[in-house]
Symmetry: C2
Amino acid sequence: MKLTILGCYSATPRTFNNPTSQVLEMKGQLFLIDCGEGTQVELRRHKIKFARIKHIFISHLHGDHFFGLPGLISTFRLLGRDSELNIYGPKGIKEVISLMMKLSGSWTDFPLVFHELNSKESELILDNEKVEVRTIPLDHRVYTNGFLFREKPGERKLNIAEAIELGIDKAYYRNIKKGKDVELESGEVIPNARLSFDPPAPKSYAFCSDTAYKPDIVPLISGVDVLYHESTFMEAHAHLSSSTKHSTAKEAAAIARDAKAGTLILGHYSTRYGELDGFKDEASGIFENVLLADDGKEFEF
Amino acid sequence: MKLTILGCYSATPRTFNNPTSQVLEMKGQLFLIDCGEGTQVELRRHKIKFARIKHIFISHLHGDHFFGLPGLISTFRLLGRDSELNIYGPKGIKEVISLMMKLSGSWTDFPLVFHELNSKESELILDNEKVEVRTIPLDHRVYTNGFLFREKPGERKLNIAEAIELGIDKAYYRNIKKGKDVELESGEVIPNARLSFDPPAPKSYAFCSDTAYKPDIVPLISGVDVLYHESTFMEAHAHLSSSTKHSTAKEAAAIARDAKAGTLILGHYSTRYGELDGFKDEASGIFENVLLADDGKEFEF
């Protein structure tokens, strides 16, 4: 699982700070999460192949989270894309993107599938062979969702030495990986546990931005391996945090602690702060394993 | 008159090429012309004060000419702007910008005035004390206008030495600058020509992008001091030029020659070309005074 931060600052793009966008690679699939202005340039900078992006998740319709989307779709079109693109985001996203395409006379040749969200309950919105994605209803000034990405358990790993030792025909290997026992010609049944090892534990990633402190998301993300939670403010500006429906670093840490997350990544910093160490200091008092997102950073888990 | 090229490449923003946007400073007023994705970052890079931009001109609604506009308006709002912003662009621009503001719950506190264009004839769209702006109807795949900016003649310059020599009271100076004669107490009339010099000749700038070769714009821009004309292609791709309704460098030069322009600036290059010298070479065979736009370049006239 690999997370690439294309941008993680709040509000508006600046010379050295990009608005929110990140790419999650999970089981070989790429998921683009939010798409602030300038995202397509950051994708190029990171040499991420545009054609590999088949699913884009938009948390909410504030500009710093989606103003790069019309340009990215337009670029996909200009590059001659033909594969389907799925866009998951709040109701209204289809209307605004469609209007922009209409005005510019630029309908896509590839299938553009909108999955508009308006439920206040968590929903399963993507479910394929390897990954499932659920919404995490958040509390912001406009309708907002976080997203929980979960790997599905992989196949069991063949204990090749034991299989050879027992003279098991290769034709059985697929079934062994699927967890089945093997019956030998002699009638003896070899239990699967002797022929295979547990697969790597499936990983999970939760993206929660933008949101006020919302403890009722804890059960939804319980035990998540990696939690990205916005921390727009430090304690000094906690009053702004509540009035703007954002979180402080401490609040993000409390969510991570209560959800028993493996790792907390902080982001969506207000650009009023010159440096980021204070965010980590404040969060670390509450939750141990804190990392700081920054534009261009890559995390592997 | 100063022209700052924020971006001058066609199609999509890339790591080192920005889509179209430029700032014209004329008689102390700033005019933003087109606003491709990333424009607000380029404005910051050039340290152009956002509050000085009161008029934005959008040639047409292809993404590489206006996808930066929603973000720029949103940033104006976040910065607490209160002065009026005028946006001149094709019909439809108001609907799409308004929809984006509605979806993000981000109505501006400052007056946002849309001047929607749909005429196929040249129109006077801005007329203030110092500058007037007219549309230049162009020929592209969607409804498109260029823009002709003209300084108004300034006040005459006072011949201060002569005024003192003749003992003229300072109270008359304003009228002298306005071209009036002065009657002395003796009854003698001093003609204005003796008391003042001609003001600097008013300057003009024409922005013509995107467009196919359209010789009927020549009378509209006749004698323009500086013509920015798109040259998406060189001769090797002239066939693409006509099918996409763009111009070649030679066609841009022919317009400059026929309009008796002072200077031609080429831009809106296709990113297929590694270097730009070929554009200048091809245009120079037809029109002598050719300059090449490039991202970040500033021209003073």
